[in-house]
């Protein structure tokens, strides 16, 4: 090998880098408003996130049919962060600084959100996060359009306690932060309600756990203590299918030990024969089966857009619909897509939920939602068996945890802070 060759190799490497640079820049001049879509299209999370990408394309298409925004067309910039968390941060940076998007709609897992947070803060852009999550967070640049724990978990437990008379609880989850937090909050809540410690069983499993024989038979054993038992499941994504299959095969019927899930929606059920699962529950803020004119219209248009008459809809999709509508309104109100102006304008804006009631953007960057409990039906849909009478405001910091009950988030003046400590009257973090 010679010295000249070496130089060429390094040059080639540098060239490859600059190609990627210029490709990004080349189409930055058209007269459109760009919207970033940051959802994994490959890797483990593609299974859930791809639909959300399609939802965003659908919403942007609809908005353009209505004449766009501020007289300009909207343009979706889709990237694939490939279920790779550092790549989320890299892609977010690229969307904001190269593509100069006005806002980003994206992320699913908590870790992907945590990974991009510093980027949005540094480059001062906006993220709409559409998935139910563990709370304990409120960031200036992020809007949480999914449910906080008080909008999902607590009402579900109340339902089981009051309607089904459950006295013994299995809290089963995948070992990551959302189940940990939810279970911690629920454990505290149940103890406050007088449930004894030996009547609560907590179990964590790894991601994509597929052999549920032991755990399901443990649940069966735990349920044979003469008290009505229920399972509260925060089992994530693709571990659910084998879990439910095992439940069905071991003959655990919903009448005996109901399972209420917070991460199982219509999309997940599309992969299971739901006949043996009828009666198991899920708590969400949206079900496809809810009968409102808004929802009917949304489903019809969505199916037309996607070209599939049987395509299902789910809760995170609705969160994107609500988030997108709020953002459009905020931009119209502010008259610009400038981040600071939109951040100010969006607080207090309202848009109808697809399931009834009004979604209002609160000063803590969460929204108001109705809480619905649905039972699984044999056609893979949920049927609402209970719902809150009024919408529930999302609470960023749980009131049931000792370390966060005195913290509030309020991004309006004079507090303007995501972790305001009501006891010390100051912002907890960097002040």
């Amino acid at each position: 090998m010679s010295t000249r060759f070496t130089r060429r190799a390094v040059l080639a490497a540098a060239l490859a880098g600059s190609v990627s640079l210029s490709a990004g820049i080349s189409y930055a001049q058209e007269e459109t408003i760009k919207v970033g879509v940051l959802h994994s299209l490959s890797g483990t999370m593609a299974i859930s996130e791809t639909t959300l990408k399609d939802t965003m394309l659908f919403l942007i298409d609809e908005q353009n049919k209505k004449g766009g925004l501020l007289g300009k067309k909207l343009e979706a910039v889709v990237v694939d962060p490939a279920s790779d968390w550092p790549l989320f941060a890299e892609k977010a940076r690229e969307l904001i600084s190269v593509d100069e998007v006005a806002a980003v709609f994206g992320c699913w897992t908590s870790v992907s959100r945590k990974s991009v947070l510093p980027v949005f803060e540094e480059l001062n852009s906006i993220l709409f996060y559409p998935v139910q999550y563990e709370g304990e967070e409120s960031q200036r640049n992020v809007f949480y359009t999914g449910a906080a724990p008080n909008q999902q978990a607590i009402p579900a437990v109340d339902y089981l306690m009051n309607e089904e008379g459950v006295e013994r609880w299995v809290l089963a989850g995948t070992d990551y932060v959302y189940p940990r937090t939810t279970n911690k909050i629920l454990e505290q809540y149940l103890m406050d309600k007088g449930v004894a410690a030996e009547d609560i069983m907590i179990n964590y499993t790894p991601f994509s756990h597929s052999d549920w024989q032991t755990i399901v038979s443990d649940i069966k054993a735990f349920g044979s203590a003469g008290k009505k038992t229920a399972v509260v499941s925060t089992i994530n994504g693709d571990a659910n299918v084998p879990f439910y299959k095992e439940l069905a095969n071991q003959g655990i019927a919903a009448e005996d030990i109901p399972v209420v899930a917070f991460s199982v929606g219509e999309e997940e059920l599309a992969g299971i024969d739901t006949e043996p699962l009828v009666g198991h529950l899920a708590a969400w803020n949206y079900f496809q089966s809810v009968d409102t004119p808004e929802n009917e219209e949304f489903i019809a248009k969505w199916r037309e857009f996607i070209g599939d008459e049987d395509r299902v809809t789910n809760d995170p999709m609705e969160a994107h619909v609500v988030g997108f509508n709020l953002w459009v309104q905020a931009v119209e109100k502010a008259g610009t897509t400038d981040t600071d102006a939109v951040l100010d304008a969006i607080i207090g804006l309202e848009t109808p939920n697809l399931t009834g009631g009004i979604a209002k953007m609160l000063p803590n960057h969460h929204i108001t939602k109705p809480v619905l409990i649905g039972e699984i039906q044999d056609d893979g849909q949920f049927e609402v068996v209970w719902e809150t009478e009024e919408v529930v405001p999302g609470d960023a910091w749980s009131d049931f945890l000792p370390e966060s009950k005195m913290i509030e988030a309020d991004w309006t003046a004079p507090i303007s802070c995501g972790n305001y400590n009501t006891e010390t009257k100051s912002c907890g973090g960097a002040s």
Binding site: M1, S2, T3, F5, T6, R7, R8, A9, V10, A12, A13, A14, A16, G17, S20, L21, A23, L41, V78, V79, D80, D84, W85, P86, L87, A89, E90, K91, R93, E94, I96, S97, V98, T109, S110, V111, K114, S115, L117, P118, E122, E136, E137, D175, Y176, V177, R180, T181, Y204, P206, F207, E403, S404, I407, G418, N419, N421, G428, G429, A430
Partner: protein, 386 residues
């Protein structure tokens, strides 16, 4: 003796590689910091950490090449050493947050407050000091590699068996670090870092400095690897790669040579991980995933194993390609990437650098009839480890 070995590392092409790396280390930060925004030659802000990331990947690939390309040990667990280096750095950065976390606890990181830790676990002690973290960056991967290698090489675990148990190692670590009870933040890992050595991580100058540090670290690793490869020890390593039993019968303590290469490689990988974390802003158990370790092998193979430049070229090219494809063809980039791997294996068995070198040698042989000695050195025949 050592000076002589090091000096020998500088002969021929190596000095050019080092010179170019140092030039990059100076030019990129300078252009980013001092040229006005909009200047055609300015490296944009978002590009600096991206390039820095590629360089740390290049270092990682170089480390793998030292054991695979020169010693025939195909490690499918090098991601673990990288991740350990990253975690050591991440722990330092976590401690630097101090009371600026959301719960404002001066000692405990947020995730510990949240998981009801009353005090800092013992293994987090000392990480508030940079020097301690820096030692750990080297020590933890080094010790792990030493212990693992000591057992494996003495038991004469070779070939595919070794590859699979390195994979088992990183897989077990992946599962362990996913557990929230481990005290490393579980699936979310360590994130939301504020500053390093007192300099805010979000500042352009810190980024530029980190980039320069990565380039220089890569140059240094290149010199070290080059020195190892060219020394007598390096020749023995190649002998082990090509015919382990024969080398042993000649009286060499094969295990010790392998152990040295494996440990040195792990240390380089650890340093790469430590430089990677502040630039991407997160370290989580995903880095332990077996698929990541396989990717490292692929960068090395694409660039050309058994050459020291190959892995650097491969890592930068594949990752630049990935960055570009995921933005431009988000739905189809896996086809391109997969196709690239298949094509490189089939048509460029020695990797890009190996193929170019071969072509170059052939060309030279055509022009000047008698000069073939150089080429055989640059692209040694990669032969299967088994």
């Amino acid at each position: 003796m050592i000076t002589k070995t090091l000096l020998r590392a500088f002969d021929g092409k190596a000095i050019w590689v080092v010179a170019i790396l140092i030039a990059i280390a100076v030019a990129v930060p300078a252009s980013n910091l001092y040229l006005p925004v909009g200047h055609p030659l300015r490296v944009p802000n978002h590009f600096v950490p991206l390039l820095g990331k590629y360089l740390t990947y290049a270092m990682l690939a170089l480390a793998l090449d030292l054991v695979w390309g020169y010693c025939g040990i195909l490690s499918l667990g090098h991601g673990a050493f990288f991740a350990f280096g990253g975690y050591a750095m991440g722990m330092y950065l976590m401690r630097q947050i101090g009371d600026r976390g959301v719960y404002a606890n001066p000692v405990l990181p947020d995730f510990m407050v949240f998981l009801n830790y009353q005090e800092l676990p013992w293994f987090w002690y000392g990480f508030d000091m940079f020097w301690f973290a820096a030692i750990m960056v080297v020590l933890v991967p080094g010790v792990l590699a030493f212990v693992f290698g000591w057992f494996a090489f003495r038991s004469r675990v070779t070939g595919v068996y070794l590859s699979i148990i390195t994979q088992a190692m990183t897989y077990a670590l992946l599962l362990a670090f996913f557990r929230n009870d481990m005290g490393f933040g579980g699936n979310n890992g360590l994130t939301d870092f504020k500053d390093i050595l007192g300099a805010p991580l979000q500042a352009g100058s810190t980024r530029a400095a980190l980039f320069a540090a990565s380039a220089i670290a890569l140059a240094l690793s290149f010199i070290v690897c080059s020195a190892i490869v060219r020394s007598k020890l390096g020749k023995v390593l190649v002998a082990v790669r090509d015919a382990e039993s024969r080398t042993r019968f000649l009286g060499y303590r094969v295990d010790n040579y392998k152990l040295f290469a494996f440990t040195a490689s792990a240390v380089i990988a650890g340093i790469a991980g430590a430089l990677y974390v502040p630039q991407v802003g997160i370290i989580n158990p995903g880095e332990f995933a077996p698929a990541n370790s396989i990717e490292i092998v692929i960068w090395t193979a694409v660039g050309g194993r058994g050459t020291l430049i190959g892995p650097i070229v491969g890592a930068v090219l594949v990752n630049a390609g990935k960055s570009w494809f995921t933005g431009v063809f988000p739905e189809f980039w896996l086809f391109a990437l997969g196709g690239l791997f298949v094509a490189v294996t089939l048509f460029l068995p020695k990797g890009i650098v190996g193929a170019l070198a071969q072509g170059w040698t052939a060309l030279k042989a055509q022009r000047v009839s008698a000069q073939a000695e150089d080429g055989s050195d640059a692209a040694p025949e990669p032969s299967p480890a088994e």
